[in-house]
Symmetry: C2
Subunit: 436 residues, 2 copies
């Protein structure tokens, strides 16, 4: 039996702020970064995972992953549902570390990175891409992954089992469908706030030409600018392409309602992160005020308990899971089940670095084993930094191609690890030598 | 003008798990710890603050404080309301670090420790204990401390000003009252889950003899045990002493209702942390089901946005601020104003290490400048580790004595820093040498 023999943690950062890629109303100059973890084993494959950050504090995130090492080193390599459930439970349940959350922020993202690395290891051991590895599991195995604590008032284990059993017919056909057609994507590439109107128009037109049926624009800096940009985008893409907008938590409730009312003539499909990700009742008030525009959130929603309430309150019309914000695959399975229970479509957040690579697997698992539908479901696509990965996500004709390589797709190339290591990799030492 | 010249961060841990002090249903063996920060200056006093943790992960908390140093070193020492507001705003607003929360968990507690250290520095510079330094501020200065982002749907700056102006008459009299009589306390010392029935009864009787009119028991391990312990405590203290109970997040909604219904015959005054601190709607459901038993929470409530919703939803009857969980004095001022707006009494969480020392100042400020009342208000008291502080909190006859020494009372003695430093202080190296 293989064992985990060591935990490597690396601080990897990309100087994305140089180009204003990724600029939005709350994040003007991100340097996309990863606190990267490798679970080393004495035999069989290693496991690779990451926590995504946007620069400063990536060292804090790395320290949090280090703090989990005593739970890992010497442990049998987790290769099945039971072992992966036990690992998640041990990490979340550490009674002293729990004080630092509980189940939120730096410590919880560290758990997510480690849990995802363990799933990578298990899927590699099985010789399957993560989404297909998950799809081999029985409903009983899948509910065994989930921590129902704090969920039982809206979703019991038995209800979850019913959901999964109802989706069993047709699983093989849906796997074939994904292998043949991929999973629908939308693109955020045209819409960063730092881009000129000309660049926005060019990229929006290119998105349609590339087969996307939905794009997204960042908003929330200046209302007049946003009206002009939204109008321009609508002119470029026409009425049949959906345009979502994203305020990145910039507004209070009243501002969100006022701003979206002003943008309504240009038919925004959803408003994403209109206010604090913690504000369930605020999202509820916004959603009631701006229908039929949909409300979406999730990339900063800390755990299943907040998602539960967003669904209970009817506060969101679109649920955006993120592969690296919550406690890894196990908690995202819980969230997918909650969304299905409430009939809310899941449209995952991606972008950053590695988020597309990871979350595509969860969307495909959702389609195969949980929701059994791609209707009104799209995964975000941002065409940044994919070249840094051994098994990069690929989008063709507006669809993510189904991954076929074993694992969870978050493994950096050796060159990436050598070049972008912070602060001593050459990309950073040369940048500093230039006096920046 | 004085400047901040350096930031010292120390990992300080106390081996409290040896005696089961502090044991409860979620935290069976805490080692009370502090990520301790000292803001060094070139002239005038330094500032001392801490983030409280319960052992493992205190190093991660310390790393998060380190990450804030670039905002601090070289900065003029903040000595007035304007500078303290700017410091809080700069720390919370760091767009890259914000990704690690936002405003929650390890990174937010780090901000709280630094902000509190800055307030300590400012109060020392003014030659006043923190509560009196705050009481010198005008309503305009006080609202200037508050970040109203995400609050404006329930509390505007103007409403906050009205609250503070309404409390201006009688401030001098209330200060005199505190100096003469102190602030009411209750004690948790009898109620730790790890204690025998005999120890519980002895300590409960002692608490009444010591002048306390309220005690608290930990619950949530085993219902039969809790019924027996609650019955015993009620027999010992009689009907006129309030008994609060505290489940430390152990239950789901249905379990909380069932458990409290079983304890109801023994008249519990409040149930604290019945479920996840993130579950606003869960607390609302529990509160509706178990009235007249009150619902209390706060020690793990991550920020003002969750408190806002708990109040909006009528989900809590008692609001428990914590000096070290949120973003320091500034955010706690916002929370005190929210509580006043909704007419919910604030009964601060304390205990741990340093929490009594810090939070007594906030309760006294609340009485002087915000709520103007001590009715149904009590500050938790746990008689642990006060000897580690230069200016320890003191409770006499069931009341916290008003602090008179300048500062925020969170400064450790030099001996404490030498003895309990982790992992190299003698308390830890000797413990390890004993093979534990």
């Amino acid at each position: 039996m293989a064992h985990i023999t060591g935990v490597d943690v690396l601080d990897v950062r990309f100087p994305t702020s140089r180009e204003l890629d990724g600029s939005d109303a709350m994040n003007p100059d991100p340097d996309y970064s990863a606190a990267y973890v490798v679970l080393r084993t004495d035999e069989g494959p290693d496991g690779h995972g990451l926590a995504f950050t946007i620069g400063r504090g990536n060292d804090v995130q790395a320290a949090a992953i280090h703090a989990l090492a005593p739970h890992l080193v010497g442990r049998p390599a987790p290769v099945d549902a039971t072992a992966l459930a036990a690992l998640s439970s041990d990490l979340v349940g550490d009674s002293q570390l729990r004080w630092l959350g509980p189940e939120k922020g730096v410590m919880h993202m560290a758990i997510g990175a480690v849990v995802n690395a363990a799933w990578d290891l298990a899927a590699r051991t099985a010789g399957l891409p993560l989404w297909r590895f998950l799809a081999t599991m029985t409903p009983e195995e899948i509910v065994g992954l989930v921590d129902f604590r704090y969920l039982s008032d809206v979703l019991t284990r038995d209800e979850a089992l019913d959901i999964l059993r109802a989706a069993e017919p047709g699983r093989a056909g849906r796997i074939e469908h994904l292998l043949a057609n991929g999973y629908p994507a939308y693109t955020t590439s045209p819409g960063w706030l730092g881009y000129s109107d000309e660049k926005l128009a060019t990229l929006a037109g290119q998105a349609v030409a590339d087969g996307f049926t939905m794009i997204k624009l960042k908003v929330g800096g200046d209302l007049d600018d946003d009206i002009r940009r939204m109008k321009l985008a609508r002119q470029v893409v026409g009425d049949s392409v959906r345009i979502a907008v994203d305020a990145n938590q910039r507004w209070d409730v009243d501002t969100a309602v006022r701003w979206m009312t002003a943008l309504a003539p240009y038919q925004p499909y959803w408003i994403e992160e209109p206010t604090s990700p913690d504000d369930v009742l605020g999202h509820q008030a916004i959603a009631e005020a701006i229908r039929p525009i949909k409300v979406a959130t999730g990339e900063h929603v800390q755990n299943r308990v907040i998602f539960k309430q967003l669904l209970q309150a009817g506060a969101i019309d679109v649920l955006q899971i993120d592969a690296c914000r919550v406690g890894g695959v196990n908690e995202n399975v819980a969230i997918l089940l909650l969304a299905k229970k409430f009939g809310v479509p899941v449209c995952p957040h991606a972008g950053g670095v590695g988020l597309c690579e990871l979350v595509q697997h969860l969307a495909m698992f959702d389609y195969v084993s949980v929701s059994a539908s791609t209707e009104n479901r799209v995964v975000e696509w941002v065409d940044h930094l994919h070249e840094q990965f051994v098994d990069p996500a690929v989008v063709r004709d507006g669809h993510y191609l189904a991954p076929t390589a074993p694992g969870f797709s978050a493994r950096f190339t050796d060159d990436t690890l050598a070049n972008y290591r912070y602060p001593d990799g050459p990309v950073w030492t040369e940048q500093n030598a230039e006096g920046r």
